[in-house]
Assembly symmetry: C2
Homo-oligomer: 331 residues x 2
């Protein structure tokens, strides 16, 4: 018995359960040079929403009636491949499927003595790398600068704040519940945090939380929150744009204040990126993040839900902020 989850229909706006379909399929035969992988942890991420549209983006769209693919930790349960042994764990972009074969292409062996397996989908995985490269290569933080992070309690946001602190910044987070705001300060070392859902005047709140203005704004959300931060930037501000979760589900083009005047006034920069741009430097980043992790400088929060059947709902819940930190499904 084996099953997989395919794209049943393309979401219009927020994704719903009906966009996904479970299919019972055969357990695949393992040919010479292949391994059989058993899915152990599945990463659900906001960017997958973009791939569910039938439009050009940085990665090709998912196809209808074909499996969704995301970051997965899997165990090798059968091997006819010289480089992989039964019992080893690998990280790869794999189908939402209980059992699948692989030729070994794109499989990365995971060192489970370094950290718990699920952490390789979060703090030491793509989300950690996203935070690391966006902040260090676009944000280019200098000690004493003020860093504001939106979506601060999310998987990327918690990492951005911690790396910012390690690099000597004053760090201010924006999140959507009082519990998240408290956690940012108590667990992740944020100097200040603002609850955007209970704050009437975000522009004034950012100004108060950032008495020296904003030098770096790591933008995970876009929309009105970004408008409020932009109104507080300093000369030469840098704004890495990692995602625009507030825009992912939009069915029409979203409008807002034009950014050109504030960019010219402040000689500021906004730059979009995706983590795979930095693939050549992943080993360097993993080494740095792993070092900080071992030194106890990096904390993480996971929201782990259990069971293959829960994958679609875990993904849907991302857009109402039900997760704290990395959202992961344990099979």
């Amino acid at each position: 018995m084996n099953q997989r989850i395919v794209l049943n229909s393309r979401p219009l706006g927020l994704p719903v359960a009906e966009n996904f379909r479970f299919e019972a399929i055969e357990i695949p035969t393992v040919k010479e040079g292949e391994v059989l992988l058993k899915t152990v942890y599945v990463s659900v991420d906001p960017y997958l929403r973009g791939r569910m549209n039938d439009s050009k983006s940085y990665v090709p769209p998912f196809q209808l009636d074909q499996p969704i693919v995301s970051g997965v930790i899997a165990e090798v349960v059968k091997s006819r491949h010289p480089n992989f042994k039964v019992g080893e764990h690998v990280l790869a972009a794999l189908a939402w499927q209980e059992l699948q074969t692989s030729t070994g292409d794109g499989l990365n062996r995971v060192d489970d003595s370094m950290a718990p397996l699920s952490v390789f989908l979060g703090a030491l995985g793509m989300t950690g790398m996203t935070a690391y490269f966006g902040l260090t290569t676009i944000g280019v933080p200098k000690p004493g600068e003020t860093l504001v992070v939106s979506g601060a309690a999310g998987a990327v946001g918690t990492m951005v704040g911690q790396i910012g602190k390690i690099l000597g910044c004053r760090v201010v987070g924006i999140a959507g519940t009082d519990q998240k705001v408290a956690m940012l300060k108590s667990k992740f070392g944020y100097d200040e945090a603002v609850n955007y859902k209970t704050t009437l005047d975000m522009k004034a709140a950012i100004a108060k939380a950032c008495p020296n203005g904003v030098d770096i704004y790591f933008d995970n959300v876009g929309g009105g929150i970004s408008d409020a931060v932009l109104a507080n930037i300093n000369k030469y501000a840098r704004i890495p744009v990692c995602g625009a979760i507030s825009l992912y589900n939009a069915t029409e083009t979203q409008i807002g204040p034009r950014v050109e005047p504030v960019l010219v006034k402040n000689s500021a920069l906004i730059q979009g990126f995706i983590v795979t741009n930095y693939a050549a430097k992943f080993p360097e980043a993993l080494s740095q993040l792993g070092k900080w992790f071992k030194e106890g400088k990096i904390h993480y929060t996971e929201t782990i839900v259990e069971g293959f059947a829960t994958i679609p709902q875990a993904f849907i819940d991302l857009f109402s902020g039900k997760n704290e930190g990395k959202m992961i499904v344990k099979i």
Copy 2:
């Protein structure tokens, strides 16, 4: 007899003649260590509009009842300063005033054997430097890339296109009359040019003019023209934002499509700048631009109007695109 032009009232929207006031003043006495300067050429520039608002920007606002200041070429007509001789020409930020004194601070002697005097306000002046630094440090052109320039027939735009060609780009300009479009191709070497006033579907027109997409968009105007270009950018596109002339006169915050999604999709960057950020490198730029000028690789167009009394109208005319290339008033 001497006269000056002061800010009579702050413009609301488009500037009008009543925002300026002519005042008759005394010819100043030249003290020891000073020179008396006679204004010869006055540069009028769109960015001055921003300084007429009473709001924080990259340079302090002009004060009511005080003279407007811009780039001026002046002749030394009296000297009690050891470094300046009568008959020499200098370039400086000076008041809109026929005769004024200076202690020599901020005066740059102009080598009138290199080029006609007025060119030091344009191709070899701030506008040339603006084009040079925005394109080379933010645009970072590579041979074979496609460069799109808005406000292409303006003072900065004509220089951006020519520098882009020298550096090996395919260059596409956007301008507002058929005459300007023709001139971009015949005089400034643009490969293609689009008249945005007679083109219904700018997005499609840019796509047609740029079969390989847009790698660099040098943005002199902002607004809807930029929206059309952004819809055609390539991965890793760079967008230096030099000015936002379509927004300078706006009395309310202008809204438009949010840029975050297109920046993330394309790992693209938008960066505002002002030329004074690069002050330390002005000599290097002047040397490079002067070399290209001598080699005949740089052409320029000036719109020169005559008479001190015409300065305000020359400035106002910038916003209806009456100028081709650099707008200069000859006194």
